[in-house]
Subunit: 380 residues, 2 copies
Amino acid sequence: MAFTLEAEDGPARAGQLTTAHGVVETPVFMPVGTRATVKAVDPRELEQLGAQVILGNTYHLYFRPGAELIEELGGLHRFMGWERTLLTDSGGFQVFSLAETRKIDDDGVTFRSVYDGTLARFTPEVAMAVQASLRSDIAMAFDECAPAGAPRADLERAVERTARWAERCAVAPRPDGQLRFGIVQGGTDGELRARSAGHLTGLPFEGYAIGGLSVGEERELMFDVTSSTAALLPSGRPRYFMGIGDPEGILRVIGAGVDMFDCVLPTRLGRTGSATTWEGRLNLRNARFARDDRPLQEGCACPACTRFSRAYIRHLITQDELLGLRLLTLHNISFLLELCRAARGAILAGRFRSFSEEALDRLGSGTAQTSSGGDAQEAR
Amino acid sequence: MAFTLEAEDGPARAGQLTTAHGVVETPVFMPVGTRATVKAVDPRELEQLGAQVILGNTYHLYFRPGAELIEELGGLHRFMGWERTLLTDSGGFQVFSLAETRKIDDDGVTFRSVYDGTLARFTPEVAMAVQASLRSDIAMAFDECAPAGAPRADLERAVERTARWAERCAVAPRPDGQLRFGIVQGGTDGELRARSAGHLTGLPFEGYAIGGLSVGEERELMFDVTSSTAALLPSGRPRYFMGIGDPEGILRVIGAGVDMFDCVLPTRLGRTGSATTWEGRLNLRNARFARDDRPLQEGCACPACTRFSRAYIRHLITQDELLGLRLLTLHNISFLLELCRAARGAILAGRFRSFSEEALDRLGSGTAQTSSGGDAQEAR
């Protein structure tokens, strides 16, 4: 078994997922490395922050630099210098969200590349073959993700198609040791979620993702659907919520029984000049930080907070100096990883509920500033 | 005495310069940190590469974030998180090269800020006061740098003004432990160089810079003037050539008796996608690197070469990923620092001449690709 459940504390769980590149302690936040790099930082830094898994993206890597090239150079781990666990998404989300014109049929999707407009076609077999070439530790099934607010008929069609495609993904060739996760769809419709979970859990996947959320739906509804969907998934398999990266959201999905989650939010916030802190999101362009000699977050052990002041980082950001983007990105990732480690400790100690309540309380007004998870997943 | 001459090997020298922040072993390349950051890299990385001194820039820091702000936050070292030796230039070069309209009189220069066009005035006293606020370890005198090809009358006027200004700089207040270097001008005119060296060495400076070169003049002439000017400077004081950063140029000015030098070249090359190697300058955008699994430079111990391939760095550069700029910058700085350490070892062993000849030979066709030092100093 790849996954060992170590503790349950209400719906919240702590576990260990063993992959070909190590043991991942859950709950775990996974930084996103879309184009074979977590934007603005390097693999050594991610190791030092304690990142255990990062994501790569099948869609983008398929076009640039190309899956065969990465395979020829020894796979994505070796290509990007990352020695720990690597999860690749199937490219499905990008095919549906980035393409302006796309044609879906029961066999796959035809679309134009965002890079140069050339016509391309993804099928479940293509998505799994690309992920096999990349030699990721965890490959995701190719699914159809309906947009938020889609009519029930569209959601239902996506659920059915996702099931047929999952069957094909489940039998596609894969490299030794690669784990495969299915993705549950169904939007915010409880009946369709149950149907999709039924389809997927009947297939031999090593883990299950909750997809099709964090795409613009109302936030409390998103958490409700997450809870009810997680409860339909086998307890002995890891559960991955696709696309959440604000501290409140992370605490909420952990509380809903989710083990893994990813988001571009910490890296994107870093590149736009913002820091995630216990006092909320700080916009370092703000003049109030010009003479602020404090670190971004008191007590934070990240490479930014242990050496640099808000005043300095503000100077870097306002002068468009690259170091500013990197320091903010490092801090933001570190904040989420530390939050997950603390949540895991609380679950193992049987006190997740009070931990989560205190943390949400401490985040206080800061949480009011966080965007919905939706825009976080959109721009991956 | 701040400077100890350890060895002479022909005109080449090895020494130790003691500042308030440590001992600098010469010859030494000094990365440029114009706006309180060496572009694209961080102070920890520079320490790991073995950088001993970096530069800060009085002109830019005067305007952004302001010298009083940096002083209030404890000085430039603390502000930017750099714990080793820091040299600040006087801002003179930028006042003359960046300003579109400027008015020079015998007391100082009035010009418009490149940041917002506001009128500003630098005098020798202002330049030294700003450097005192920044609390750099080495402050440079405020000089007038005439453009390459200036008529002799202009050069002569700049030499005389530089002398008068140097007298004022030499008696300006300074923080405890700050060293002060004068700058020899005179363009490529031997007689004026000698006159300027005479002026400057008559003043109590702890070191002397050779300024007004690397601004567009013919390259062999630049080396000739460097040799003849260095010979006019006291052997017991460090000699700083302003603005050279290509491997051949560094070897040549060391051979001319220079101890210190700086340049934006390695950082700028990094940000434009190029790597300095023994086989010449590599443009990583070139398709020939797409499947090149080798490091930028075989045997190089820098953070880029020990973990990443040319193919990966090319991918990052072509996809505008920030990590690519950083890896190239780290490699380029590392290459020059390592070259200087090797040159120092050769001087101490009394074999600099053969070392330099072999290195220049090995650089081979690569040196033909290097630009004149001129454009390197221009855009600091």
